[in-house]
């Protein structure tokens, strides 16, 4: 992540969080935190506890962040800094799910909005090595159509949290929970279509180490406590090598979109 991209990210984050932006120029950002973000980021629970006990209005902190290390003032933020990761984490915590409507301005009559379920997931291939990729899928809850890169599609639309005038929403034919299960199956299908040499390789590494271990403990068979230790070592190898795919949800939501919003491939 480039420093300029980090700066943009921070700016949008604090803006979205409702903070006053006191100073914003390339490489430097100064903001006055909201109570919510102060509590989330500044790690001073005793202060807030005390203030609230007294029934007072707390004073939130001003945060100066620099993405250009040459700047004099401020905490230097780069891709590895704990502050950025705290902010990344909080963005996720603050936005688990969403509901939005496409901001259409119909020329004539009432326009229907189709309910879409959007889901952003992280897929991780895990063994003693690991790699991940992100999938964004959407399912039309009326007709069951499914698209990839859903997040990218909706990001290009104009969206609003309130239903626009002269629009009405169609009722889902597919219940959201079933939509989720259908998307699960799609994810599963995509994973199964992928190559899994990595998993075969991990199994081989596991097998090889397990064989050495087994031989080793066979030689010590009958000695005190040996079975328990052997089991423990076997378990450790399993944890080290066992290949599996982890699918975790980043976030998701309901999107009510006009008939032409999503182009089906």
């Amino acid at each position: 992540m480039e420093q300029a991209a980090i700066h943009d990210y921070l700016y949008h984050y604090f803006k979205a969080g409702g903070c006053d932006i006191l100073e914003n120029r390339p490489g430097f950002l100064k903001i006055k935190l909201t109570v919510e973000l102060d509590k989330l980021l500044m790690n001073r629970p005793f202060y807030w506890h005390y203030i609230e006990k007294l029934g007072q209005q707390g004073d939130t902190q001003v945060l100066a962040l620099k993405t250009n290390s040459e700047e004099e003032e401020g905490e230097f933020i780069h891709f590895g800094s704990p502050r950025l990761h705290q902010i990344f984490q909080s963005a996720k915590t603050l936005s688990p799910s969403i509901r939005l409507y496409e901001a259409l301005t119909p020329k004539s009559g009432q326009t229907p909005l189709y309910p879409w379920l959007g889901l952003n997931v992280k897929v991780s291939y895990c063994s003693d090595w690991k790699r991940d990729y992100i999938l964004s899928l959407g399912i039309n809850l009326v007709n069951g159509a499914i698209v990839k890169a859903f997040q990218e599609s909706v990001a290009a639309l104009s969206l609003t949290p309130k239903i626009p005038d002269f629009c009405y929403t169609l009722s889902p034919m597919i219940k959201p929970i079933n939509g989720l299960y259908r998307l699960e199956r799609v994810v599963e299908g995509l994973i199964l279509d992928d190559k899994h040499d990595w998993a075969t390789d991990a199994m081989e590494r596991w097998e090889a180490d397990l064989q050495l271990l087994t031989q080793f403990y066979e030689d010590y068979e009958g000695e005190e406590d040996i079975t328990a230790v052997f089991e423990q070592e076997k378990q450790a190898l399993k944890e080290q090598y066992e290949p599996y795919v982890k699918v975790s949800i980043i976030n998701g939501g309901l999107f009510y979109l006009g008939p032409d919003a999503i182009v089906l491939h």
């Binding site: 799910s97 939005l100 952003n120 790699r131 994973i191 998993a199 075969t200 699918v247 980043i250 976030n251």
Partner: protein, 561 residues
């Protein structure tokens, strides 16, 4: 047959989503929602191979051999390795980098770091400041369970109630520093380390020893039980005679798959130079008389079981150092004879007015006009020097190995900010870093060359940006001069890279070289005999070094799996 890996869906999010639909919210802000997606895209790591940690550590200057090592450990050794770089190449950095890589990739969360007690805070500082890893020194019992990355001494960890708690944890990664201390598999430390549940494991050691097959065996077995087979057949296959190695090639190949050993000569680093200067110091007539008068003790019972050499070395250091010992001898003296024999020496001590070495040290310090560390073997000399320098307006701080960690740190800070000179009686233990100083005076020379190495290693290490100046004092026509010229200069001790000598001595099983030397001095009747014996010793050391260089043993570039 293995078809495809198991797929595990984390469905914990589903419930809260459905509940929000039912309760009509609360719903997130669209901008934040998109930011969360962006950050996950940034944090996703698309490749199995390669290191991502360096991108997270823009302020850390990593050397090529350090990143190579981390990659090798993760990709070829599957996270179980012995890191055996020569001293000063940054094993801690390598371990930190591997740890960081695993943490970023989400492969390690629960981590235990066992280090010597004196290094706990240093590790915590480095991991927090250099790697942004929130590592916590263990102080309270609850830390084991509540904190993810914990640093402790093994001596604390193995004691109750800690041991039981630790053995219940499932560690993703265990790091053991100074792992050569675990070489004996019968010790409690070894047995404890063996029982810790661990997925990945790094053992850090500076001295992997080829000759000590059993140490090697048990260290590797701690790391990967079964890798070298059972003890009996291992020794059958690789041990010949008492402690010689056979099938060396095969063993080396095996070991290279679990051990990384970088040598200074392999790295492309620009090491600061060492400038070594030997300074011969003539004694004053009074000092000479004192030194020579010690010879009157040679064939008496007084120094029995108590080496004359010790007294001579003390006399070379300072009259104060010698007097401390003479005083003890007098106190325990129960015969008129002893009193009478020692009295002239005491008189000679009192007659000495000038300490030639201290005088020389003063001149040198004034000329250097920068921070200087003086090493002496004796506390009495240390105190004297402090007083002496103060008389001449030079501020100094004392330093002893016995100081508590906090006092060591305090003295270091005082030296850095407020004093020109640090007077140390020993190297001060591992981990004290005095790189801001570039001048060392070896006021008197220890007989164990390893101690010289440790002294120099305090300042001549990774990160030192200046050339280092070393001044060796030797009083003329004394035992000191012999040590300097007949031993240290012949084996090029001062030009040696750190760590090399350690290996040579270990391989020759000459760890008690100071005793060897003492014996040579005591048993030589003439100057000529002494020279011949010292020559023998130095040629053995030099031959071993040549062999080692030629052989390139244990080079960390063996075959990969």
């Amino acid at each position: 047959m293995f078809q495809h890996p198991e797929i595990r869906f984390d469905r914990s999010w589903y419930d809260s989503f459905i509940k929000r639909i039912e309760q009509d919210g609360p719903w997130a802000d669209w901008q934040l929602f998109q930011l969360a997606y962006t950050s996950e895209q940034q944090l996703a790591i698309p490749e199995f191979q390669g290191l991502v940690a360096p991108q997270h550590l823009p302020e850390l200057k990593l050397l090529p051999h350090q990143t190579d090592t981390a990659e090798k450990v993760i990709e070829h050794m599957h996270g179980k390795a012995i890191l055996a770089d020569e001293v000063g190449l940054g094993k801690t950095i390598e371990a930190g980098l591997i740890m960081k890589e695993y943490m970023i990739r989400g492969l390690a969360k629960k981590i235990l770091i066992l280090v010597p007690a004196s290094l706990v805070l240093q590790w915590a500082k480095e991991l927090n400041e250099k790697f942004y890893i929130p590592a916590v020194p263990q102080r309270k019992a609850y830390v084991w369970e509540q904190c993810d990355v914990v640093i402790s001494s093994i001596d604390t960890a193995k004691r109750q109630p800690h041991a039981d708690i630790i053995l219940q944890q499932n560690y993703d990664l265990v790091i053991i520093d100074e792992a050569h201390k675990l070489k004996n598999h019968r010790t409690k430390n070894y047995q404890f380390a063996k029982k810790i549940k661990k997925k990945f494991c790094l053992l850090l050691t500076a001295t992997p020893v080829q000759n000590r097959l059993s140490e090697l065996y048990y260290l590797v077995t701690l790391l990967k039980p079964g890798y070298l087979g059972d003890a009996d057949s291992f020794f059958q296959d690789y041990r010949s005679g008492k402690n010689k190695v056979k099938n060396e090639e095969k063993l080396r190949e095996l070991i290279n798959r679990v051990m990384v050993r970088n040598r200074r000569s392999d790295t492309e680093m620009d090491w600061p130079k060492r400038h070594v200067e030997s300074i011969d110091i003539p004694l004053t007539p009074e000092e000479r008389r004192l030194y020579d008068s010690l010879l009157t003790l040679k064939d008496t019972d007084i120094v029995q079981g108590f080496s004359l050499i010790t007294l001579q070395r003390e006399a070379c250091s300072s009259r104060e150092a010698l007097y401390m010992t003479i005083k003890k001898l007098l106190a325990s003296a129960n015969s008129q004879f002893i009193q009478e024999t020692l009295q002239p020496i005491v008189d000679n001590i009192q007659a000495v007015e000038v300490n030639s070495k201290a005088q020389k040290a003063l001149e040198l310090i004034q000329a250097i006009d920068d921070k200087v560390i003086i090493f002496t073997e004796y506390r009495a000399t240390q105190l004297y020097l402090q007083w002496f320098l103060q008389q001449h307006g030079i501020s100094s701080v004392p330093f002893r190995g016995g100081f508590k960690r906090s006092k060591k740190d305090w003295m270091r800070t005082l030296f850095q900010n407020n004093a020109q000179v640090l007077i140390a009686t020993e190297a001060g233990g591992e981990g004290i870093n005095l790189q801001f100083c570039h001048h060392v005076i070896n006021y008197d020379l220890p007989w164990n060359p390893m101690r010289i190495e440790q002294r120099i290693g305090r300042i001549h290490r990774l990160g030192q940006e200046h050339d280092v100046h070393i001044y060796n004092f030797a009083t003329k026509n004394t035992i000191e001069e012999h040590i300097l010229h007949l031993l240290y200069e012949k084996i090029h001790l001062f030009e040696h890279v750190i760590g090399e000598l350690d290996e040579i001595l270990t391989r020759l099983e000459l760890k008690n070289i100071d005793q060897e030397i003492a014996e040579i001095f005591e048993s030589s009747d003439s100057e000529g005999e002494l020279r011949i014996k010292m020559d023998n010793l130095t040629s053995v050391l030099n031959a071993e070094r040549l062999e080692q260089e030629g052989e390139d043993a244990w080079r960390g570039t063996g075959s990969d799996t």
